[in-house]
Symmetry: C2
Subunit: 121 residues, 2 copies
DNA sequence: CGGCATCCCCCGGGATACTG
DNA sequence: CAGTATCCCGGGGGATGCCG
């Protein structure tokens, strides 16, 4: 198999897209330290709508990155948890978060410089 | 500074978004082994439209991840190159590509299993 | 509580054509 | 060659309302 992310039809491109999705990343990060309930995820991840959260969770489940466990109690309780595959992704996603935090300042600076300078300097 | 990616207004979230963008990732990957011209990028990265390529390049430039060098020749020649900051991101993005390629098979399998099974098994 | 369905709006982004 | 400008469409995604 080629697994060429540059090829628009290669599945690896789709996988890359999934990893790239912000909500996916945040969900995986939130599940880093064990199972979480739907509401916990919704609360922790600011700005995500119920629709997008569900959609993201389904996509991650479909891709085998998380499991969805329904507890037959009332009120209902649903736990989401990283699979082995999901855990293997965790290191990466963690690094992503780290990079974003570490270099956030640099990026902000760069933006200011770029915006402050006349277009055709 | 908090640098909380879960906070919807934290700049780190925006940085995360930029990293997440598929075109950004592919551009950075393409620039991994040295400067590339606009057309080279357009050719290498399948499926990207001129509009999106330009837009992506501008965003990356603004964030200080790449530089844009215009050579005063005719026909015009423009080179894009990773900055130090961009290079620091390269390792991550490389790992991303690697993960996508390595686990592509697992994901495809998981999807087949998920899709093949009746909704409420 | 944890969804799914529906509606609807907005804009991301592709296609096409033109310019320096 | 390396863009920019314009048009336009599809669907991403928010809001709301209803079930188990």
């Amino acid at each position: 198999m080629d697994a060429d992310v540059y090829a628009k039809d290669c599945p690896s491109r789709q996988v890359l897209d999934r990893i790239g999705d912000t909500w996916s990343v945040l969900v995986v990060l939130t599940l880093a330290r064990g199972p979480r309930r739907y509401t916990e995820l919704a609360t922790k991840i600011e700005g995500v709508s119920p629709k997008m959260l569900t959609q993201t969770l389904r996509a991650l489940e479909r891709d085998g990155l998380i499991t969805r466990t329904v507890h037959a109690v009332v009120p209902p309780r649903v736990d989401y948890e990283l699979t082995k595959l999901g855990i293997s992704l965790l290191d990466l996603v963690d690094a992503l978060e780290g990079w974003a935090q570490t270099h956030m300042g640099d990026v902000i600076e760069a933006r200011a410089a770029y915006d402050g300078r006349p277009p055709q300097a």
